[in-house]
């Protein structure tokens, strides 16, 4: 390795080190996954059990895929996290919320959807994973935003 290359690498490492040190954990593998299966694997949720105790409140038809309101909650005792997977988005994992003591497993958010697809919500409770899904029809895709 010659000196200029080494200097360049050192500079790149220094540039990388700063934001990495400042950043909280962000699961690059799971968020970079291109299929819902890989996204689930990325958060450790392999073969989640179907559950009717996960509630997904969302419009049946979203005219504007750039802003699709989704309200989710879990009635499974001990729910410690909820993840939102938009099954036909280029990167399906949209969000993962960890709830600690003092928080209820509930969140309402707006997401972008590329096209009509199932929204899958995965809950973690007591070291096990559960999931529910619901189809949202999208009139105009919203990933150009």
């Amino acid at each position: 390795m010659n000196r200029s290359r080494r200097t360049l690498l050192a500079a790149v490492a220094a540039l990388l080190a700063k934001p990495l040190a400042a950043l909280a954990a962000w699961n690059e593998g799971a968020f970079g996954a291109k299929t819902p299966q890989d996204a689930l694997k990325g958060i450790g949720a392999v073969n989640p059990a179907p559950s009717k105790d996960i509630v997904i409140d969302a419009p049946q038809i979203a005219e504007n895929g750039a802003v699709v309101p989704i309200e989710i909650s879990s009635n499974i005792p001990g729910t410690s996290s909820l993840a939102v997977v938009l099954e036909r988005n280029p990167f399906p994992l949209a969000a993962k919320f960890d709830f600690k003591e003092g928080a209820l497993p509930y969140v309402k958010l707006n997401v972008k959807m590329a096209e009509t697809a199932d929204v899958r919500v995965v809950a973690a409770a007591g070291g096990r994973y559960y999931s529910a899904n619901r189809e949202i029809k999208v009139t105009i895709g919203g990933c150009g935003g």
């Binding site: 962000w26 709830f99 209820l104 919203g142």
Partner: protein, 91 residues
Amino acid sequence: MRATLAGGNTEVRVLMTHPMTTAQSGQPLHFIQNITLKVNGSAVIEAEVSQAVSRNPVFSFRLKGGAKGDKIEVAWLDNKGESNKIETAVA
């Protein structure tokens, strides 16, 4: 941000001003990655999000119990290392 007592619990609604641009938009990828909600200094919700969250994100959260005057702080951090912190008290 608004935090109000409702039915014995606390409802928090927070707006973050952020472009949340996707890789498909033709603009540089720029999106919030981490969100932390603290109550009186203790983290109770930690979230990781992607560029699939809509522009100028709005989130609603629910906290167990709560009392008037509790300090609620929401902080975010994006993929460029930019961050912001929003604070309010439960009303």
